[in-house]
Symmetry: C2
Subunit: 83 residues, 2 copies
């Protein structure tokens, strides 16, 4: 599965919208064009419970679907998207 498929399959699109640019709520961040290292750290910290503030705790209940390898693929892809 490529990154764009993963982004759909692992439900990221449900909150962050198409290409990480259209969050469904203003409380969710835009992701497109953020630095790869930042995206990688945030996804891992949310998955591992190091970040649980605000709506990130909801995301933690999705991250069991996403392997660390897939996190890396998603981070690289999202960082590559124009903002």
């Amino acid at each position: 599965m490529d990154a764009a498929e993963l982004y759909h399959e692992r439900t990221c699109i449900a909150c962050h919208g198409a290409y990480g640019k259209q969050p469904v709520m203003d409380e969710y961040p835009k992701l497109a064009g953020q630095a790869e290292a930042y995206l990688l750290t945030q996804m891992k910290d949310i998955k591992n419970g190091y970040r649980t503030n605000a709506h990130s705790v909801a995301m933690q209940n999705v991250m069991h679907l996403v392997s660390d390898e897939e996190i890396a693929v998603l981070a690289k892809w999202l960082a590559s998207l124009s903002e």
Copy 2:
């Protein structure tokens, strides 16, 4: 003090770079164009210690400089900037 001055005066620029677009490290997020509500929540959660993951704990040691009113001014300004 207007938002742009606050952004300098309260040292935000030190990590997030000019206009919140050029983080000095890939571990810090770009801020320009993020949704106002998201920015507001994250700044408050970091200030209040609800978010301490990765480098946000360093930011907590800056946020004592920033009042809640100033947080609101910064969030509005950053959200208004083109990405």
